[in-house]
């Protein structure tokens, strides 16, 4: 088993708007030939790390969500839920958001970013 040089961080945050923005920007630079794909991978890896650390340290808010559950799925320590018309409450009722449609939750296991072999 090859040893990883550093503790890997989850890549799930690449799906956020910040992650997608970065991905698209990197893509544009690759298309125009300014950077090569390996460099882009390094940037994304750094992004994974920075985002994971920022989220765990900077946000103090609490929220709750209630909804009907359409589907649930657990594969490789990743839970995926499909919700129907969820109601989100942020910061102890300072804000309530109700969605008419669907919503997906993707959650990786807390505490470990290593992939099980």
């Amino acid at each position: 088993m090859a040893d990883k040089p550093a503790q890997p961080f989850y890549q799930i945050y690449r799906g956020s708007s910040l992650g997608k923005a970065l991905f698209e920007s990197l893509d544009e630079l690759i298309q125009s030939g300014h950077i090569n794909p390996q460099l882009a991978v390094k940037v994304l890896t750094q992004f994974d790390k920075s985002t994971s650390l920022a989220l765990s340290s900077q946000s103090k808010a609490k929220c709750s969500v209630k909804s009907h559950l359409n589907t649930f799925n657990l594969v490789d320590d990743v839970w995926t839920f499909q919700l129907q018309s969820p109601t989100f409450k942020f910061e102890n009722n300072s804000e309530t958001v109700q969605l008419p449609g669907k919503c997906k939750i993707v959650a990786c296991k807390a505490g470990s970013a290593d992939v099980k072999q």
Partner: protein, 211 residues
Amino acid sequence: MSNRVVPNVYRTVISEVIENVRQDFDEVGVEEAVLQELLRLWEDKVATSRVADFSHDPRIGARARDFLPLPFPNPASASNGSASTPKPKEDGAASGNGATDSAAGGEAQTSSSTPAKTEPPISKTNSGSGSGVGGGADEDEINSDLDDDDDEDGADGEDGAGAGKSEDVVIALYEKVQRVKNKWKVTLKDGLVSVGGKEYLFAKCQGEFEW
């Protein structure tokens, strides 16, 4: 709260990433100008994404002022949306939608004049099945017809052409997932909620679902 911290957190992440990859760029021999270009592109996209109010951010501020976050359709949280609207700069902006005469939440709703690239997902009607399949970004909205939901929601390669739509998603870590009969209790932490075109961050989230 959790939406208002978004610009700060994003600013932190962006700065940290750029600082740390500067060395990688150097090693490969790519110029600083390219790094700056990456930064500019990245900030542009974030500013136009309208997921939060970036107008106070030192770097994105000027660009973001033309793209304030959309007021939320939910009346319960209207107060959050209106907080960002009274900006005198908006009136002179290219959109020229006469923001002054419409009420606080209204100006973003006159979406006919907003820049075409960011279509607010909520205000567009989408007759999903009728409008034809050819690369229509609008069909992938939430609230479109029930057909093909499973496929298109999970489609990963779909996001080309800068569709600008955001599916509602929560990305987080889970601490505990429990189930009793059909009642699920989930504890999430350190996550990001992207719903209704806006983003929120949380340290802890309690979920209760009924299957």
